[in-house]
Symmetry: C2
Subunit: 369 residues, 2 copies
C-alpha cells in the first residue's frame, strides 16, 4: 500500500464497489480525459434526486416531481461539476495556478479544487465589493482575492488578458471544460430514473447549465442510454430575462443573485437547446421565486438558494401544460445555506418568545390546548 | 403510473439501478423497519468519502486518510441519518407532530423531515436565545419555535413531559431510533472502502455518533461484511471534555458549538465503544480545532463546521501512533456553511483592495512580477 499521490491518474483508487470516485472517474468514457489526466476531485456529483410529492400534488393531476439537488455538491453548488474538469485539465496542461473573476459560487468552487489539487487560486473582483460574508468560502479555501478599482467587466477582461501572457489557467465560464463536467448531471438523472424525464425545469442565468444538461441528454440518447430526451424548460428571473426579452439587460436586478446576469455567456447555445427539445425559456418574478423557495423548504424539506427555486416557480407557472402521468425533474443548483440572510428576511416564520416554562403555557403556544 | 404517495411503504420507488433511495430503503435489512413503515426520506446518506492526501502527508509515513463528509446530507449534518428513522417511526406510530429541544443541527433536521413527511414540527428553546441566524434553517423549514423563560435543561424537561401526555413524538437524542439511523454511516464507510478502516477518528459531543458508528462496525463484522473493526478514536473539545475528565462540565465552553456539551447523553455507551475497540477518547484544544479547520479548507478543499475538525485535530495529535500503511477515516459531521461567522473571523485570509485595473498592478498583487 502506498501513499496516495496528490492527484491520481485516471484509474480510480482501488476501493469497494460502492465507492463513488467523483464524476470524472465515474463518467470518464464520456469526458475529454485520458489516463494522463491528473484528476482533482472532491467526490463531486452523485447528488440526490429527491421525490417532491407536495409539488406533484399542486399539478392537479397524477404526475411525479423530483428535485435534482445539486446544492449537495462539495462546495454547495453545481459549479463543482465543471470545476473538477477545468482544474484537472489545467493541471494536465502544466498550470500550477488558476484564476477567475467571480464573487459567487464559481470562486468558491475554484478555490476548493485548487486547494485539493495543491495549486494556487486567484480571484479578481471589483473593489468596493465589501460583502466579506459572501466570500467566506473562498477565503476559507485560501484563495488570493484581488479587488481592482473598476467594475466586473473590467475584472473579467483583465483575467482573460492575464491568462494569455502568464502560466495561470482561466476557469471562468469561457473555459470549455466547465460544460463538459456539468453535463454529467443529466447522466445522473437518467441513471437514477432509468430513462430521461418528460420535463427538465432549470434556472437560467449564464445559460451554461441548460446547455450542459441538453448536451448530456443528447449524448445518452445517441448512445441508447435513454429512449428519449426531455423538454427543456428554462426560467430566467424577470429582472434579468435577457433571453426572454431578446436583449442585453444593462442593470439586471433580482433577489436570485446567482442568476442575476444580463448578458448570458451561453445565450445562443441555450436557445438552440430549448428549441431543439420543443421546450421554452420564460421568466418568473421575484415573488414567484420566493414563493417556490418557501414551498420547497416548508413542504418538501429542501432548503435551496433563491435562484434554484426559479425551476420550481417555472413549473408552477406552467402547471396547466404538464401532461398527465408526466415525470418531471426540477434542478436545484445551490444550497440555501449559501445565503442565510435571504432565508431570515423571507421565511415568513415567527418565533413565540416569553412563554412561561410550564406545560399548560407551552401546549397553548403550540395551539394544542 | 401513479402519483407518489406522500410517504412510501418500505419498497423503494421503481427507478433506475443507480437511484439512491435514502438510507432506510438501502439498509432496510439492518434497521428496525418493516413494510408497514411509512418512510420519510430526503435521500440522506450516501455521502462522499474524500481522499485527503494533504493530511496523509502530515503523518510522516505511508498511509491513507479519507474524510467521511456527512456535512453533505440534505440539511448539512449527520443528524439527518437519525432523523429519517425517528420521523418515519413516529409516523408509523401514528404521530402527526414531532418536537425537540435544540438550537442547532437537530432542530434543522427535525423541521426538514417533518416538512417532507407532512407533519408539524415544534422546537422548544430557551428565551433570550436571540441568534436568529442560527435558526435560519429551522425557520425556513416551517417549524414552530417556542422560546420559554428558562434554560435549556428546562426546555428538554418540558418536551419530555409533554410527549408523555400529548400525541407528539419526541425526536431528541433520547429517541432510540436516532442511533439506528446514524449507524448506517459505518456501513457506508465499509461499503466504500471494501472493509473497515484501521482507525476511525470522530468528534465527540453528546457521544451518540461514536456509539452509533461502533454499532454499525460491529453489525457488519458479525455478519462478515467486514473482516475487522477499527480503533475508535473520539475527540472532545477541551472546554467540554466530560468523558476525558470523567466529570460533568457545568459550563462547557468551546468554539466548536456543535460539541459544546457538558453531560453527554451516550456517555456510558461511548466509553464502552472506544474501550472495546482498543481506541481512545481524548480532548483537543480550540486552537488545535481551528488549525485543523483551516487545514481542511486550505489543503483539502473541504469546508466543515468547527466541531467536525476535532476529528482531524485528534488525528494530528496522535500522528506518532499511526501505524505505517494505516487506512484512516476522519468523520466530518457538519457543513461549514452552517457557521459562516467563524469562517470569516478565523480564515486568516486577506483581501488585497484598491489594486489599479492594469495588468502590471494585478500581476504584482499576485506576487508574479
Amino acid at each position: 500500500m502506498l501513499t496516495l499521490s496528490e492527484s491520481g491518474p485516471l484509474s480510480p483508487p482501488q476501493l469497494g464497489s460502492r465507492h463513488w470516485p467523483g464524476l470524472i472517474h465515474h463518467y470518464a468514457q464520456w469526458l475529454p480525459v485520458t489516463d494522463a489526466t491528473p484528476v482533482v476531485s472532491l467526490c463531486e456529483g452523485n447528488t440526490p434526486l429527491i421525490a417532491a410529492p407536495a409539488i406533484a400534488k399542486r399539478m392537479g393531476k397524477p404526475c411525479e416531481v423530483y428535485l435534482k439537488y445539486d446544492g449537495l455538491n462539495p462546495t454547495g453548488s453545481f459549479k463543482d461539476r465543471g470545476m473538477t474538469m477545468a482544474v484537472s485539465k489545467a493541471k494536465e496542461a502544466g498550470a500550477s495556478a488558476i484564476i477567475c473573476a467571480s464573487t459567487g459560487n464559481t470562486s468558491a468552487a475554484a478555490a476548493a479544487y485548487a486547494a485539493q489539487g495543491n495549486m494556487k487560486a486567484y480571484v479578481v473582483i471589483p473593489d468596493g465589493y465589501v460583502a466579506k460574508g459572501k466570500l467566506a468560502q473562498t477565503l476559507m479555501y485560501g484563495a488570493e482575492i484581488i479587488a481592482i478599482k473598476d467594475n466586473f467587466d473590467k475584472a473579467l477582461a483583465m483575467v482573460r488578458q492575464l491568462t494569455e501572457k502568464y502560466p495561470v489557467a482561466l476557469v471562468n465560464s469561457v473555459n470549455r471544460y466547465r460544460l463538459e463536467g456539468q453535463k454529467t448531471a443529466a447522466f445522473e438523472v437518467v441513471d437514477s430514473l432509468g430513462d430521461a424525464p418528460d420535463w427538465l425545469c432549470i434556472p437560467v442565468g449564464n445559460a451554461g447549465n441548460i446547455t450542459a444538461y441538453w448536451m448530456g441528454f443528447c449524448h445518452y440518447y445517441q448512445h441508447k442510454k435513454a429512449t428519449r430526451r426531455p423538454r427543456m424548460m428554462g426560467f430566467e428571473a424577470e429582472g434579468s430575462a435577457a433571453i426572454v426579452r431578446n436583449q442585453v439587460i444593462e442593470h439586471p436586478e433580482t433577489i436570485a443573485t446567482a442568476i442575476r446576469i444580463g448578458n448570458p455567456a451561453s445565450w445562443v447555445r441555450a436557445k438552440a437547446s430549448y428549441q431543439a427539445s420543443h421546450g421554452t425559456i420564460d421568466s418568473v418574478t421575484d415573488d414567484e421565486i420566493l414563493d417556490a423557495y418557501r414551498l420547497l423548504a416548508r413542504s418538501c424539506g429542501v432548503f435551496c438558494e433563491p435562484a434554484s427555486a426559479a425551476s420550481v416557480a417555472g413549473l408552477l407557472k406552467y402547471r396547466d401544460q404538464v401532461p398527465a402521468h408526466a415525470r418531471i425533474v426540477c434542478v436545484l443548483t445551490g444550497n440555501g445555506l449559501k445565503d442565510p440572510e435571504t432565508a431570515i428576511l423571507h421565511s415568513h416564520a415567527q418565533i413565540q418568545t416569553g412563554v412561561e416554562p410550564d406545560l399548560k403555557s407551552i401546549v397553548k403556544a403550540m395551539g394544542m390546548d
